[in-house]
């Protein structure tokens, strides 16, 4: 019963969200396309809600994917240092003052993507030195990489001018504010690709979530499936982070909440995790917009403030078992 109320509440927030913010929207003025309300609603709020929703989908699905493939509840692109890799990449692009490079795609996006994908390959390469199924060590590698990237980012700060650093600091806090429809649509396409590819391999993932060896013996090409999904998800994360900056903990919390309220095998949790991730980030974003009227609280701070205590809770309850 509680879970249905939760879902209805989240859908309600999605509908209400575009009306919340520093400026009140007058519904009567919406049809008048020259009014301020109409501009704010259609060019700022709606794209922002769509952007937040798609970002939530990407973060939650990547979390679910990483947790399933590495069979550990703490594995997410964020904890494995993939987000940090993207931040460093994007930071370097900001420092170098690069604009758009190819076909109108921003250099920041490309560098962010490269940061994410290189981290994945680095992790895959390093994991060869680990004995099979030592996923805890992989997690430690991810944390070590995160620390390394953070220090490297500090060097970028150190070398940067005051203006570049201001952009960088705002970037590392994470933000969902977008203007116009270009980034929401880009993210919409990418999140759909991620969703479809995970859904296409849902039965393979179901077997993988039980045992890698058994999945292989039942006929799953485990290496192929893992690699394809990891690359697609790194691509999605890299693109997202390069636009919005890092948004932590969604990938960690959402799959875990879904497992608690809808216990079922992973193939039955894909759609719910994607939707819940979208709704949840829209909720967090609505909170940031409604809290202050002077300037907005960065979204990365809100999700991390909610996520931090939850992370601790997760570790404590896992140890009790």
């Amino acid at each position: 019963m509680i879970r249905y109320i939760l879902w209805i509440l989240l859908i309600f927030i999605l509908l209400v969200s575009p009306f919340v913010g520093a400026v009140d929207i007058h519904i009567m003025e919406l049809m008048d396309f020259n009014s301020l309300s109409s501009y704010i609603f259609f060019d700022l709020r709606l794209p922002r809600v769509l952007f937040a929703f798609c970002a939530g989908v990407i973060l939650a699905l990547s979390g679910l994917l990483f947790q399933t493939l590495f069979r550990n509840a703490l594995m997410t692109p964020y904890t494995l240092g993939i987000s940090s890799g993207a931040v460093l990449g994007a930071g370097i692009a900001i420092k170098l003052g690069l604009g758009s490079l190819f076909f109108g795609i921003g250099a920041i996006s490309i560098f962010g993507f490269l940061g994410a994908i290189l981290t994945v390959f680095l992790l895959i390469y390093l994991s060869r030195f680990l004995k099979s199924a030592q996923h805890e060590s992989l997690l430690l590698l991810g944390i070590a990489l995160s620390l390394f990237y953070t220090s490297a980012l500090m060097i970028v700060f150190y070398l940067g001018s005051a203006m570049q650093n201001d952009i960088l600091i705002r970037f590392t806090m994470g933000s969902l504010s977008v203007i116009g429809w270009q980034s929401p649509i880009t993210l919409g396409i990418i999140s759909s690709i991620l969703f479809l590819s995970i859904y296409r391999y849902r039965f393979e993932l179901q077997l993988l979530s039980i045992s890698q060896t058994q999945a292989n013996l039942k006929g799953v090409n485990t290496k192929h499936v893992s690699l394809v999904l990891l690359i697609i998800s790194s691509f999605a994360i890299g693109t997202l982070v390069s636009i919005s900056g890092p948004i932590g903990f969604i990938g960690l919390i959402v799959p875990h909440i879904i497992t608690k309220i809808h216990p079922a095998t992973v193939n039955k949790r894909i759609i719910k995790t994607a939707l819940f991730g979208g709704f949840f980030l829209v909720l967090c974003d609505t909170i940031t917009r409604s809290l202050s009227t002077q300037s907005e609280l960065p979204i990365g701070i809100v999700t991390a403030l909610v996520g931090g205590p939850f992370f601790i809770y997760l570790i404590i309850t896992k140890d009790k078992k």
Partner: protein, 241 residues
């Protein structure tokens, strides 16, 4: 029929098995001391590990089979269920055996579900079908693993110490099921349980000093066992009645 030709397996630069030449006609029990390489041999047959030499199944090189073809040819039942995602019912778990038979992307078919239903009834565990797999006892879990393997409809079934975690009562149930399966499947059994091996009465491969001693019969004689294991045996009576 499985043929092993000049098989050599290594682990961490140590040779575990070498010069293994063996033709498994239909059934085989693999015995040997702890760490002698029984499981390594089974993993090589499943090509789960890298090996030197060649393995042929019904005349076909194992490396020429696709993963799905391999799954339709042989299945492997581990001693113990190890899983990350435990939110799975027995019914769903057994259905997974049909993976190699189902079309990619699409859901499991009605036929797959019927085969699962029949298998659960055959092993007399259909009353457990809605239970979560991690709520089952070790004996029931072993039956669920066997059921999953049966829905896979593979010619060869490899059991890796099926009774290692079981009490005598459950050992008897599992032993009788395995014996019953000998009629339709080729059974390869890895075990420490001499009772079980003698009950199944298959030819025996005893692994010692990295190679195999093959016994068509004659293995279960007290003098032979004493010589191999260095422990006194008193007329092994292999009966579960």
């Amino acid at each position: 029929m499985i043929e092993l030709k000049n098989l050599r397996c290594e682990f961490d630069d140590k040779t575990i098995l070498e010069n293994i030449n063996l033709t498994i006609d239909k059934h085989l029990s693999i015995l040997g001391a702890n760490g002698s390489g029984k499981s390594t041999l089974a993993k090589a047959i499943c090509s789960l590990i890298e090996f030197h030499g060649e393995i042929f199944i019904d005349g076909k090189n194992i490396h020429s089979l696709s993963l799905k073809e391999k799954a339709k040819t042989l299945s492997y039942i581990p001693a113990k269920l190890e899983m990350y995602d435990t939110f799975i019912s027995v019914e769903e778990f057994v259905l997974l055996g049909r993976f190699a038979h189902k079309k990619s992307f699409f859901d499991y078919s009605t036929k797959d579900k019927n085969i699962t239903k029949q298998t659960l009834e055959f092993l007399k565990i259909d009353h457990l079908k809605k239970h979560r797999i991690d709520s089952l006892s070790s004996g029931e879990q072993q039956l669920a693993l066997i059921a999953q393997s049966l829905t896979q409809q593979s010619e060869i079934i490899i059991f890796d110490e099926p009774t290692a975690n079981l009490d005598p009562h459950n050992t008897k149930i599992i032993a009788e099921h395995i014996k019953g399966l000998k009629e339709y499947h080729s059974i390869i059994l890895i075990t420490h349980d001499i009772h079980l091996a003698s009950f199944l009465d298959s030819p025996v491969a005893f692994i010692k000093n990295k190679s195999i001693i093959y016994y068509e019969n004659e293995f279960f004689k007290d003098e032979n066992l004493e010589e191999l294991y260095g422990v006194k045996f008193n007329s092994l009576v292999a009966q579960y009645d």
